[in-house]
């Protein structure tokens, strides 16, 4: 048993490593799913895009319709996602399975489109959005929440149980 203690899989992950994993998950999740959201808006699956929220709500210059604005807002979303991932890590990392992270995604969607809506003057209220937009954004948020939440809770579970078989 003495020799076995040295094996890496038996070591607990250090908190620092857990933290960096959480942050990288958040960052990548932000980039990836806001990129998907941008594609969805490019093909008019949804009338709102990350850019609508992050840039066009405050600025009304010409360049906000260019690709630069899209890139900037995707980056902004990934920075915000660092925070989202931290919130999940602090509150929900001990949960198991997919459901908590899906609900987390739904909660994020509700928070953005319902509670925080007054902050974004450019985005129409929920009742005036078309059904395609609502379905598409809900789905993207579900997958976004799944990505961040499930990754973090799996990583946490993996680090406390030496092996998950």
């Amino acid at each position: 048993m003495g020799a076995k203690k040295q094996l890496e899989q038996n070591k607990r992950e250090k908190p620092a490593s857990m933290l960096s994993r959480t942050l990288s998950t958040g960052f990548f999740g932000g980039i990836f799913w806001s990129f998907i959201a941008w594609i969805a808006s490019y093909f008019h699956f949804t009338t709102v895009s990350p850019t609508t929220f992050i840039i066009r709500s405050w600025l009304d210059a010409d360049w906000t319709n260019s690709w630069l604005a899209d890139v900037l807002s995707i980056l902004a979303v990934s920075v915000i996602s660092l925070l989202v991932a931290m919130v999940y890590y602090v509150l929900l990392r001990k949960t198991r399975g997919l459901l908590p992270s899906i609900l987390f995604g739904l909660a994020l969607w509700g928070g953005l489109f319902y509670l925080l809506l007054p902050i974004f003057p450019n985005v129409k209220p929920l009742t005036q959005l078309d059904s395609d937009t609502i379905v598409t954004t809900i789905c993207i948020f579900i997958l976004y929440g799944l990505f961040i939440g499930y990754s973090i809770s799996y990583e946490y579970l993996d680090s406390i149980s030496k092996k998950n078989i």
């Binding site: 094996l7 890496e8 899989q9 994993r21 990288s24 998950t25 990548f28 999740g29 969805a40 490019y42 093909f43 008019h44 699956f45 997919l98 899906i102 059904s131 395609d132 379905v135 598409t136 789905c139 579900i142 997958l143 799944l146 990505f147 499930y150 990754s151 799996y154 990583e155 092996k163 998950n164 078989i165």
Partner: protein
Amino acid sequence: MSKKIPIAKDINENQSHLTKKLGIGTSFDIGFREIILLDQKVQFYYVTGLCDTSIVVELLKKLTAINDDEPNKDKLPSIIENRLVHQQVERKYELNEVITQLLSGLIAVFVENCDYAFTVDVRNYPGRGPEEPDTEKVVRGSRDGYTENIIENTGLTRRRVRDERLRNQIFQVGERSKTDICISYIKDIADDGLVNTIIKEIKSIDIDGLAMADKTIEEYLVKQGANPFPLVRYTERPDVAANHLFEGHVLIMADTSPSMIITPTTYFHHVQHAEEYRQSPAVGSFIKWIRFIGIFASVFLLPFWLVLTMEPSLLPEALHFIGPNEVGNIPIVIQIIFADIGIELLRMAAIHTPTPLSTAMGLIAAVLIGQIAIDVGLFSAEVILYVAISAIGSYATPSYELSIANKINRVLLIIITALFGVKGLVIGFTLYVLHLTNTKSLNTPYLWPFIPFNGNALIQILFRFSVPMTKKRPSIVHPKNNYKQR
């Protein structure tokens, strides 16, 4: 399991037992030969189709020489044991054990007044030599592949893994077939939990025969249910198998099948191919990306194009040319499904058709059906184009099983898109990802390293790095030793 019968001293009793049990005289392929050595009966039993005659003749020569050379009648059994000039000779005290070995091709030797029998491994199974597997061809690199013979297969692996810590554990499964199943792993890398789970599952298999060898094992091992996605990866290449052993995977091989099962497996194991690792890292990454695009197109291109034709207002201005120019006589979705079924039919037909005919069949399919279907107004040209692209995408999927699972999902996505438009496609996509995330193969999340996210591992999949740069074993197999050089 029938009860144990000890071997009797009376050779005639043994003979009548064996004759009855094996049906000697009824079954023509079980052979029997009796010789007299020093005035005592010595009997041989063997299966004609599985023995190497030249070795048997050699043994008989040595044994019959006893009559000329040896005077001592009392020591006959030990003289015979000495004269069975073969490295694999065993004493057996139990009749059923002898029968099992006899039926796997060993020759059994009974001696009068002796309460044990000898079995000599003179097996020579009918089979082919190692050939390059059809489904995993590479331009360069080794061209040997596993065969139907489990002994040769362990040899092919051993040649690549000369590690003293490689373990090849063998089990016999099947009440009637008694098929050999071997699990291979490197002891100080593979996860004990995984090895024990697999051993437990294999030992608990209760079945009469494993005619479909590896596939049957797979179905006992992973609880597939209605899930179409392949939960284990197969390979017929020893180099791929050895590489996975080094990474800490556990391999399962079944006698009579050239396919090794690699466990645990994720979705992304099915989208990689040995060819990528035979090319320089840059080229390998390039091939990977092209392949990923193909696989992605094989699932999502058709439903996506369908939704764009259903609602042309979705198209961004730069892409307005997409969509059929003229409205056909048949709804697009029906055309797509018909064309897809047509291609699937062609594929099936091509499998059963002999090679010379299949060339002709390809011509008929491509020229006649495709072009004429457009001319008579059955299909629009664009449908043929997109169906063809996604069919090519499926053929570019390295894992045949995955390509078919993706095809089923494509059809489902097309139907749900046709019914609900944009909402259908988006919800379908979400369900596809949710389903894959929810799938587990031997407790391994199927979509790892994407969800759950593991940056380092994902980069390894998206790009091909040179071997000296990949120092860590994938964490998903929970290797006991994370660093490759140790």
